[in-house]
Amino acid sequence: MPETPLHRPGRFGPYGGQYVPETVMPCLRELEAAYAAARADPGFEAELQALLCNYSGRPTPLDLAGNLSRDIGTEARIYLKREDLNHTGAHKINNCLGQVLLAVRMGKSRIVAETGAGQHGVATATVCARFGIGCVVYMGQEDMRRQRPNVERMELLGAEVREVTAGSRTLKDATSEAIRDWVTNVADTHYIIGSTVGPHPYPLIVRDFQSVIGREARAQILEHEGRLPTDVVACVGGGSNAAGIFAGFVDDADVRLHGVEAAGSDAGHSLALGLGRPGVLHGSYSYLVQDDDGQVLEAHSIAAGLDYPGVGPEHSYFKDQGRVHYDRVGDADALVAFADLCRLEGIIPALESSHALAYLRRLLAADGPGGDLVVVNLSGRGDKDMHTVMEAAR
């Protein structure tokens, strides 16, 4: 797993760090050491590759979406990186497989995780079932309501789903509660963070485990087209699917990278990079949606997986460096893009991924900045969102 030249231990430029209670600091050291040892061990890489291939179904296809191009009215060729075809229906399992192997190496017998849309919770519950490890998933009450099928899936997979009723009852509060559990049970418990957030080394580890998306996509586009894409597009909540696909192209200076945040609606937004300013939440220093007193605000998005006021520290660094262009798409446009992909390509995308799809209409408009070869990370499938989409339609 190659490091990007931007990486510096513990920080991405000024962003990242380890802002956590002392109780878990030794555990972060242990995780750093375990990860370094794993990366140096060819056996670890082989075991992970075998799981990604045989259990999750990698490599995922890079799929030309011709009808979508025609509907947009563009000559550009649009490829979808089909992370929705992973086992459990999203990119989340790439990280969970890597982290559960680390947990086993560290001798941990219990896993905790937070989840927003439920995709990370399902992926965690899935790998815990496979490895016979106890699993507790924290999920906000509001998310449990709107992602009911994923709650049922997690329970079927043997995980205990604990309802979080604090604050906005969404991903932010579920993350706080997962951290509290971890602080309490740190001796036997590994915390599988679902995105490129949290204290070092999590943003780095999650990025590395997700970078398989970018490596595959780069090789596939070269095979299909004989050249690199002009543009790569991904949605950004915490930012793991974006970090994963960007990792494959960040060193290709001519490839434009676009991260799409959730602009939500009149009820609020999740624009950490778009409207926030740097601050500390959940262990790292990064752009953050907060008020003038440094209180973290409740985020909003119709996509539960983007409904988070923070963002991974590497994205904050990319923003400041100007390496990635961050833009925004609201609930309404995401819903349109969701319906479009169903109708045009026979693919039901996750509402999160629908934000990246909606951005294509601006990117590839006649006066838009897009080039003629675009890769979009279709980070997950949308079966889980049927309830939300039907509710929005009413």
Binding site: Q18, P21, T23, A166, T184, H282, D293, Q295
Partner: protein, 271 residues
């Protein structure tokens, strides 16, 4: 005055410090100030004032609730310091601000240090700033005469204990358990061994907190430490009281009992 001057004086006088924690502006500004006065009346010489924060990851349910209520009532870091100054104008209590980092970053570390010093604050506890991240905070605070209180935990291990305890100032905050504030505490051999291990590494006064909630805890800990912090147990009494007067009465009885338990230590000023 720096916190160290207070805590050294308390130890030199042979007293064990009872450090009550109050969420700033809870249940309202006036009652909060009366609670601080009550603490001073009952013999508490150091008081911890909690700045409410939207995402208090180190806190259990009680302090999450009181902080949430204070936030809803509009309590900010700035308001917290105004309240601290109001108490400081009439009392000699050593005031320690406990805050998560983000409100302080937002105000600016230097601006915070200036404002805290002007309000009569002696020390600062930052539960989400471990030793590794503390340097950019410690120097500006120190320049204004404020001590940054370090925390050590049962999980810290010898190497970290040595470094953290060795550099500690004001008091060293011994987190009594692996968990959040207000968890159930077991004052058994493991905890006593941890405390003894820490004390071998520093001459800084050692105060024990997280889960300390009963006179029995105070009696068990008095012989082995220099003070205890009580937060959730005290804030639960305040929260559950029928009104401000009941809250003040409950706090007075609790703090009196705890102070008596802490200072009836038969070994006197040992260890």
């Amino acid at each position: 005055m720096k916190l160290a001057a207070h805590t050294d004086r308390i130890r030199a006088a042979g007293r064990k410090a009872l450090v009550p924690y109050f969420t700033a502006g809870y249940p309202d500004d006036a009652t909060f100030l009366d609670l601080l006065a009550t603490a001073a009346d009952t013999g508490c010489e150091v008081v911890e004032i909690g700045v409410p924060f939207s995402d208090p990851v180190a806190d259990g349910p009680v302090i999450q609730q009181t902080g949430h209520a204070a936030l809803a009532a509009g309590v900010t870091l700035r308001r917290t310091l105004e309240l601290a100054a109001a108490h400081h104008a009439t009392h000699g209590t050593a005031l320690v601000i406990m805050s998560y980092l983000n409100p302080i970053l937002t105000m600016g570390v230097d601006a915070f240090a200036d404002a805290a010093a002007a309000a009569g604050v002696s020390g600062v506890i930052l539960p989400d700033v471990p030793h590794e991240e503390s340097a950019p905070l410690r120097a500006p605070l120190s320049r204004r005469g404020l001590n940054l209180v370090d925390l050590v935990a049962p999980t810290s291990g010898a190497e970290r204990l040595e470094v953290i305890a060795g550099g500690s100032e004001g008091f060293l905050y011994l987190v009594s358990l692996t968990g959040v504030t207000g968890s159930a505490l077991n004052t058994d051999g493991g905890l006593l061994e941890f405390i003894a291990d820490v004390r071998r590494r520093t001459t800084t006064p050692c105060y024990v907190g997280f889960g300390v909630s009963t006179p029995e805890h105070a009696r068990a800990l008095a012989p082995v430490c220099d003070g205890v912090v009580v937060g959730s147990a005290l804030m639960r009494l305040v929260r559950d009281a029928a009104g401000p007067d009941a809250a003040l009465g409950a706090a007075r009885r609790f703090l009196t009992t705890m102070n008596e338990a802490l200072n009836e230590c038969p070994e006197g000023n040992a260890p």
